[in-house]
Amino acid sequence: MLVFALKRFASALLVMFAISVLVFLIFFATPGVDPAARIAGRNADPATLAQVRHSFGLDRPMPIRYLLMMRHLLIDRDLESFVNRGSRVIPQIIQATPVTLSLVIGAALIWMTAGILMGTAAATLRGRAADPLIMLVGVVGVSLPAYWLGEVVNLLTQKQLHDSLFSWVPPPGYVGLGQDPGQWALHMLFPWLTLALLYAGIYARLLRGEVVTALNEDYVRTARAKGLSERRILLRHALRCSLIPIVSLFGLDFGALVGGAALLTEVVFGLPGIGKLTFDALQNLDLPVIMGTVLYAAFFVVLANALVDILYARLDPRARHA
């Protein structure tokens, strides 16, 4: 187990190093992209450019610049934004993390519950009208883009029906869980539902297929011959085995979302999360912030994968010794 954990850790470090180099190269070694020009502003004269270059350390050799940036980011932890001089990167990320975690964890709970219920229901009702109906609802959910769905939700809850049905909906934004748990949940409710709707359908479809396959397996016939109830066969045997691939998909999705893939939802609902932070930094070519958020995202993807591996071994005994 210790060897396994160490190996995992080493490979995670390698992945994060590779990603940081890649991001650095994209922004500094891509022809035509000159951060100094962006910082100095439009139509800056060559003298200003040179001065900007020097003051930001952009005139030093590439490897030195990379190492300096990494030192400021990881060791001194005082890396500063290119755009807003004096604002540090790490506090920004630390501030944005709970917002993204609130959004993604809440949505994940909703979509996993809904997906498992819908998928199992569709599989058991196979051959009846409810099955294609549930799957249709799932496809519709998957096909709605977050920015459109989020805007429609905002339009209804903040404007059209705000005076009647949705008068209890607070304005978009974020309230910390520590400040006021009730307001936190209220502010997050529609972002949660919007994000969950996009994922519940995919999970329901995948699970339905898995459960249908499992119900035709020999072990289900054995369970039936044992005299177990249909309910127990479905939950303890068929569903239990079907959850294994769902868990690996969930790990990937969850890691990516925490890493910033919930960007669209965050922007639409005005949540100052990691996605929003990355988005703003990209618009300004604010490399230190981009570097910070990308490394943060890589960390979460790697962490989620490691957790999935452990959970997978718990769910599937065949994977334990492999």
Partner: protein, 335 residues
């Protein structure tokens, strides 16, 4: 004759398919007395497995219709409510399936699955069920049962898995065990061990239905033999009678195609000409007629299973079947 434990009358199983209605089992009747071993033989597709699955109502596809009567201790299983049927499955009639590799749920330990079978039917504590699972596993010949109980199915070999499946089937001491080709997926040596195990069970008083296409297995263990072809019974009788004086040309073919260890070496094993009938294309008359060397006009009509204790469904004169068998074999050799 004692009251039969299981009495199946005119069992009919139809599948609705794209090609239309297909009859897999066509008016099958048989009975099993308490403590008796009935061997059911026939080629693949002859309806052996389907008929036994129908007895336990394990055909769950909505495209299947089952009719007839399945009397178990006088109760018609086909008319039983689901809940009562569940109480019969596993407790009174247990079933062992062909492929032990896939018959156990991969994510639970063997012991858990045996205990689950016990607790499905009896109000016993977890601990007690566990202790009984240990005893069952060691009864079926798994060494060091107490620790093997915590193994997962993938950690067992095929033979051990089949033993575990049998242990599970025996967990509630059923009065009838239906074994659907329990040895087909196993090595010959393991086959012999499993057959020994089943013989011991039978000595303990359980009745058994043993489905197989292996005549050797039947000859070792069965009291009575039912030969099926095309979803119908071709011949039925005591084992000795069927093996020493087979009456139906299909049974002749089955027996002749078993290789023998002694005697002169044959260049080619005799086979039954043609291919087994597809369940969709069973002729009006005798199902075996298209492949039978001795068919005649009467075979256009469907023969009924008739006889005293040794029954057969064939139009040939009942007097000199042995002679007919020899002459049929000679014409085959000549052709």
């Amino acid at each position: 004759m004692p009251e039969p434990l299981l009495d199946v009358r005119d069992l009919r199983v139809c599948f609705r398919t794209r090609q239309g209605l297909v009859t897999a089992v066509d008016g099958l009747s048989f009975s099993v007395a308490p403590g008796e071993v009935l061997g059911v033989v026939g080629e693949s597709g002859s309806g052996k497995s389907v008929s036994m699955l129908a007895v336990l109502r394990l055909l769950t596809s909505p495209n299947v219709t089952v009719s007839g009567e399945v009397l178990f201790r006088g109760r018609d299983l086909l008319a039983l409510p689901d809940k009562e049927m569940r109480a019969v499955r596993g407790r009174e009639i247990a079933m062992v399936f062909q492929d032990p590799m896939t018959a156990l749920t991969p994510v639970y330990t063997v012991g858990w699955q045996i205990a689950e079978a016990i607790r499905a039917h009896e109000q016993v504590s977890r601990k007690e069920a566990h202790a009984r699972a240990v005893r069952l596993l060691s009864d079926v010949g798994i060494p060091d049962a107490a620790s093997r109980l915590n193994a997962y199915p993938h950690e067992f070999s095929g033979g051990m898995r089949q033993r575990a499946v049998i242990a599970m089937a025996l967990s509630c001491s059923p009065s009838l065990l239906i074994a659907d080709e329990p040895t087909t997926a196993l090595d010959v040596t393991v086959q012999a061990q499993i057959l020994d195990l089943m013989r011991e069970l039978n000595a303990g008083g359980s009745a058994m239905v043993l489905i197989t296409h292996d005549m050797g297995v039947v000859s070792q263990i069965a009291d009575r033999v039912l030969v099926m072809y095309g979803g119908r019974a071709a011949e039925e009788g005591p084992r000795r009678a069927v093996f020493h004086g087979p009456r139906h040309p299909y049974t002749w073919g089955l027996l002749d195609s078993v290789p023998r260890v002694g005697g002169p070496r044959l260049r080619r094993l005799p086979t039954i000409a043609g291919v087994p009938v597809a369940p969709g294309g069973i002729p009006e008359g005798c199902a075996f007629a298209p492949r039978c060397r001795l068919r005649h006009d009467l075979c256009e009509e469907r023969p009924v299973l008739s006889g005293d204790t040794h029954l057969d469904a064939c139009w040939l004169p009942s007097g000199d079947r042995a002679g007919l068998r020899v002459s049929a074999r000679d014409t085959e050799a000549a052709s």
